[in-house]
């Protein structure tokens, strides 16, 4: 059992931030790693990348977008409620080293995953430029945190309601045109964003890492639900990832595999909504 000790809703209540008691995980987790959680006895296991950890208070930060039944159910929980199972830390940590200039690009809820990674690159002595984007101003998350975690923060919105009017890739292209010292781009967000971001950085020949979020079950390498094709080879995202060379990932396959249970997800969500009425 893991008690929720803090709750904040963001982005028009489409995103929720919990601080949850999980002292052993908080002590061990490194940027880029994730947990699997199961809300209750009948729940499914879903992977969530940690938005941060605090070993002194023994808590981990879970920041999630409400996309289906499990996340909708999670959002109904309040401070003092428990999450039945949290397993972690899982996956390989981000490989952090001082390499020079790094651009960290976060889209949508991907910003939450990007935040601890951005912070770690800065702490390791890199010059960190961060680009975060959202569809519209009210859906933007963690702007202040990302500002503090980077040397230079750029913000974009698809509708121009805040920051630069356009996509994160538009700003990224501009920076890559201006600076030739960029050693690494890290991109985390919706699959189409990562796909186009990688297309762009490939043009410029800049190494790019992405963090993938396929469907998982055990997340210890036992089931293969999370298999992704990277460089023509099948890899298990849960143990070989979640971060991969973005230029090698088969994004089209990933999107199709993420949509494998759309029908069932709809059934679950409808049942949940009906029960809430």
């Amino acid at each position: 059992m893991h008690k929720i000790i803090y709750k904040r809703e963001m982005a028009e209540k489409t995103v929720c931030h919990f601080k949850v008691e999980a002292s052993r995980i908080a002590r061990k987790a490194k940027p880029g790693q994730f947990v699997v959680l199961k809300v209750n006895e009948t729940g499914e296991r879903i992977p969530l990348t940690m938005g941060g950890t605090d070993p002194t208070t023994g808590t981990i930060d879970l920041i999630f977008q409400v996309v289906g039944k499990t996340t909708a159910l999670l959002r109904t929980l309040n401070v003092g409620d428990d999450i039945e199972d949290i397993i972690g830390p899982l996956g390989k940590p981000t490989h952090i080293e001082n390499i020079g200039t790094v651009i960290c690009v976060g889209g949508g809820t991907g910003v939450a995953v990007m935040y601890p990674i951005t912070k770690a690159y800065k702490e390791a002595g890199n010059h960190v430029i961060a680009i975060i984007g959202a569809r519209t101003k009210d859906l933007l998350i963690l702007e202040d945190e990302m500002k503090a975690a980077s040397h230079d923060l750029r913000v974009t919105t698809d509708d121009g309601s805040y920051g630069v009017h356009g996509f994160v890739t538009d700003v990224l292209r501009k920076i890559l045109d201006e600076r030739k010292d960029v050693k690494l781009v890290v991109g985390i967000g919706p699959v189409p964003m990562m796909k186009f971001l990688c297309k762009l950085t490939k043009e410029y020949g800049v190494k790019t890492m992405v963090s993938l979020n396929p469907i998982m079950v055990d997340a210890t390498g036992m089931c293969g639900a999370c298999r992704v094709t990277v460089g023509g080879k099948t890899r298990f995202c849960c143990v070989d990832g979640p971060e991969f060379d973005g230029h090698e990932v088969d994004y089209d396959e990933l999107v199709k595999r993420q949509r494998a249970y759309l029908t069932e997800e709809k059934v679950s969500m409808e049942k949940f909504m009906a029960a809430g009425k």
Partner: protein, 470 residues
């Protein structure tokens, strides 16, 4: 004289069948297939045992249960006593009575089996254990005085549970670390409800907890703690990790949606209870036309699960012939009765899919058998030009499991063989790393529940010696 006695006692009653659900009915539900013996049937079957002076059956049992003794107690009507007799050697009789391959072990050597069908030892074991659990009195045995020594057990499958049960009785403090959210390992995530009800596994774990064993779920050793960190707190560590790495066919199209490893398919259904979706949240594809690759027990479990999830057609596709199928005869028999079809001497070459990335079929090749290979089985050879296509909207790859590298790669000093399994002494379970033992599938590769239990028992003895001589 003894010989004459045995001749006179030659059973007149035939081997008693275990009542079970009708194939048509059971192929639509997840309830256990056999109902088990009634007390009358059990006593009748027990009366068939010759009570041999030199029982052969015990030699066939990896944990050397005193088989004639527990059967005698059943024939006398002392069912609780029979269960206790079983538990002297086997801490999980309700499980072994269900999933042991008795036809290759105790029953294979039964003297009655020379002229008649052997005594149904497995069914009797199951009866006694079920009786004790549901109607009898479970007696908690006395533990040896505390030794103050601590043992960490990684993995709560049959090897870990057996070892934990043995060591707690010898007075040591035992903590089991399980990666999943429920203890039991393959007994929980792998073997389906219709073959091994999960309540039985839960009861066995509860029993160990009553003895004082601590069970910590959600602990992925190698991530939350390393083995070296465990060794700072515990005097000994046992690794009973299982063979938790799915093997795939490595043919084109294998990542189409609807193609599962058997591990994933069975974990969704058994551990996550996806067969009860949407009451339980985990979804599972309900294919109408299902292809299962492989012909071991796991393939049979997958095929029978697919039927229960509403498939119209389920095909087992296997590249060798019927004689080489590794599954237990009983499992093949049950699958056939329920309507599973067998495509033997057939090997898949590629999967076909639609625009949504969902599997629509599989291309296969016909095979013929050639000379025996390294495994002693005749090698399947493709017949040129024999390609044909089978439609399927779901597939399960059940061609075996390998060693999951997660823990071994985070444990320096632990020797592995070239296939990634942990090298351990088969008599003691000792590994190359001081203070670390291993047993079960992570040492031998995929085998049986009872062999893993046997390995757990041997390692328990070795760990006990180590702790007491320290």
């Amino acid at each position: 004289m003894a010989e004459k006695e045995e001749k006179e006692k030659k059973p007149k009653v035939p081997r008693q069948k275990m009542p079970e659900q009708e194939p048509k009915a059971r192929a639509k539900n997840f309830d256990e297939v056999p109902f088990g013996y009634t007390p009358e049937l059990a006593q009748l079957e027990a009366s068939r045992c010759l009570q041999c002076k030199k029982p052969k059956c015990i030699e066939g049992c990896p944990v050397e249960i005193d088989i004639p003794a527990f059967i005698k107690l059943i024939s006398e009507g002392d069912f609780d006593g029979s269960a206790r007799k079983l538990k002297e050697r086997n801490s999980l009789p309700a499980i072994c009575g269900r999933v042991c391959p008795q036809e290759d072990q105790c029953e294979k050597l039964c003297i009655v089996g020379k002229k008649d069908q052997p005594v149904a030892i497995g069914r009797l074991e199951r009866f006694a254990a079920d009786w004790e659990r549901t109607k009898g009195t479970i007696i908690i045995p006395e533990k040896a005085p505390s030794t103050g020594k601590k043992v960490a057990v990684v993995g709560s499958g049959p090897a870990g549970l057996t070892l934990a049960g043995d060591l707690i009785l010898k007075g040591h403090e035992v903590t089991i670390f399980e990666a999943l959210h429920k203890p039991g390992g393959v007994l929980i995530y792998g073997i389906p409800e219709f073959r091994l009800p999960k309540a039985i596994v839960q009861a066995e774990v509860n029993y160990l907890e009553r003895l004082g064993v601590k069970v910590e779920c959600n602990c992925v050793i190698g991530r939350i703690e390393t083995v070296d960190e465990l060794l700072q707190e515990y005097n000994a560590v046992f690794l009973g990790l299982g063979a938790g790495l799915p093997q795939f066919l490595n043919i084109p199209g294998e990542n189409f949606c609807g193609i599962y490893s058997a591990n994933e398919y069975l974990t969704r259904s058994n551990l996550m209870k996806a067969y009860l979706f949407p009451k339980y949240d985990t979804p599972i594809a309900r294919g109408k036309n299902v292809a299962v690759f492989g012909a071991g027990n796991v393939a049979m479990d997958s095929a029978r699960t697919a039927l229960r999830l509403g498939a119209d057609t389920v095909r087992i596709i296997y590249r060798r012939s019927r004689d080489e199928m590794p599954a237990r005869i009983e499992e093949v028999h049950h699958a056939e009765e329920e309507g599973v079809q067998f495509y033997l001497l057939t090997a898949p070459t590629k999967f076909l899919g639609d625009d949504n990335g969902w599997v629509t079929g599989v291309e296969c090749l016909r095979m013929e058998l050639g000379e025996p290979d390294d495994s002693g089985r005749r090698r399947p050879i493709p017949i040129k030009g024999s390609e044909f296509q089978l439609e399927c909207d779901m597939a399960v790859v059940a061609i075996g499991a390998g060693a999951n590298p997660l823990l071994p790669t985070t444990t320096p000093g632990l020797d592995l063989n070239k296939r990634g399994y942990i090298v351990a002494d088969l008599e003691t379970g000792k590994t190359s790393k001081p203070g670390v033992w291993a047993g079960g599938d992570i040492v031998t590769g995929s085998a049986t529940v009872i062999l893993a239990m046997g390995a757990g028992r041997k390692a328990a003895n070795s760990i006990h010696d180590f702790l007491m001589n320290k």
